[in-house]
Every structure is written in C-alpha cells, then in structure tokens.
C-alpha cells in the first residue's frame, strides 16, 4: 500500500489496537508474513521484542527498509521470502502474523 497525499489509512489505529488486545505481542518474537512496505510492522515494533517481515515483492521490502527509522531497525529484519517455504528453523517465533496475506 503506497502513501498518497490526502489519504490517511486507519488513523484510529483500529488494526493495531485490536491486535494488541488479542495477540500476545508484548516482548514477543514476531514473524509478519506478507509485510508489504512495513506499514503494520512498524506499529508492531513499538510493542514486540523483535520482528521479521517477509514479502515476495522485493520492491516492497526495499520500501519497508527505507520507511523504518534507524532506531527501530535494530529490532526488525526484512527479507524477501515465501509464506509456503519460510526460511526459518522450527520454534523460531512466538507469533506469526498474516495481515491480508493468507
């Protein structure tokens, strides 16, 4: 999802508020599958311990890296990858998030 002048997506933060209420994100190791440009990833980072975002689209991963502040970059990693063949070992994460990507 690209940024566009005159458009504010979910300014009430309903998505992250619902997630924080229902999913055990605090201090967790989170994998976000289909992270796109990292819109939600950056919101999760404020609560989660460490986050890995993967997406099939290399351009989106490039944008995700650009949009993530230097401060947050220490706790996030973005990778190009497929949901059907995750490049991680067993038991690597506490939470796997599919946001519009299942």
């Amino acid at each position: 999802m690209r940024r566009m002048s005159g458009v504010r997506f979910d300014p009430e933060k309903a998505e992250i508020r619902t997630l924080l209420r229902d999913a055990p994100l605090r201090g967790s190791r989170v994998l976000e599958v289909g992270c796109g440009d990292g819109r939600l990833t950056r919101r999760i980072l404020r609560t989660a311990g460490r986050v890995v975002g993967i997406d099939l689209d290399r351009d989106e991963i490039t944008r995700a890296r650009e949009f993530t502040s230097r401060l947050l970059r220490r706790r996030v990693r973005y990778e190009v990858g497929s949901a059907e063949s995750l490049p991680f070992g067993p038991r690597s994460f506490d939470v796997v998030l599919f946001s519009w990507s299942l």
Partner: protein
C-alpha cells in the same frame, strides 16, 4: 494457503499463535465485500452508500476461510478468539478517492449513486472528509 499455515505451525514455538487479519464478507451478502462510504464533518457524519470490490477476490477469501477450517479440523491449531473490527480510510476529497481507486484499490469501484450522495453531502458540508469503512476479522489461532 494451507501450506502457509503448516509453515507457520512449524516455525512457531509450542503454544505460539497465528494472528490472521482478513477482510470480512458482507454479512448481508456473503458473495461480496462491503465498504461503506460516509462524510464526516465537525464531529458529525452521514452515510453516502457503499463501495464495491470486484468479485474476483472472493475465491481468495473463501479459500483462506477453508484453509483455516482445515488446520483447525486437523488439530494443528485451535481457535482462541475471533473478532470483527472496522478499518477506516480517510480521504481529503472526492478527487482523492477516485485517484486512490485508480491507483491502489484497483478492484474497488464507487457506484454512481454513492458518488452522487458524496457530492451532495460535500456541497452541504464543504469542510467534510470522506471516510471508507471496511469490515475486517482477526482470528487468533493457538498452536495445539
């Protein structure tokens, strides 16, 4: 989709969770997804109608529902929680909505009746903003 959930199961620690956020089909017409359009001004709002998403995405939503049902049936996960919520997108004006539909929400259209209602409401309330509300579901699946 089932393969993705199997992979999620593999990389999750015991007791870990999958959080699955997806658009919800219109409760009144499960062949469609419903996006409501309204105009908001000075703390008030008025409905203007609906926006329609192309039906080409419906098989994906149905397929995802079936994949979740399958892994629950196979005992890989259990459904801990399921919740509906509204996601809202705010637009400065009608031209911005149309630009956004053309460039981003390419499968979504603004029916003529909704466009006319938005124009009428914006004439009455020139400082009004257009808000599109889209129903979503969050499923929390706990690794069994």
């Amino acid at each position: 989709m089932v393969d993705a959930l199997h992979e999620a199961h593999r990389v999750l620690r015991p007791g870990g969770v999958v959080a699955d956020i997806r658009p919800e089909l219109d409760p009144g017409d499960p062949r469609r997804r419903c996006i409501r359009a309204e105009v908001r001004w000075d703390g008030q709002s008025a409905p203007a109608g609906i926006m329609r998403e192309s039906m080409e995405y419906i098989p994906e939503y149905v397929g995802a529902d079936r994949a979740v049902a399958r892994v629950l049936r196979d005992g890989l996960f259990w459904l801990e929680r399921s919740e509906l919520f509204w996601l809202r997108t705010h637009f400065r004006d009608l031209a911005t909505v149309e630009r956004y539909l053309a460039g981003e929400w390419t499968g979504t259209t603004l029916p003529a009746q909704t466009r006319r209602s938005l124009q009428t409401l914006l004439r009455r309330h020139p400082r009004g903003k257009i808000v599109a509300s889209d129903l979503f579901r969050l499923n929390i699946l706990r690794k069994a």
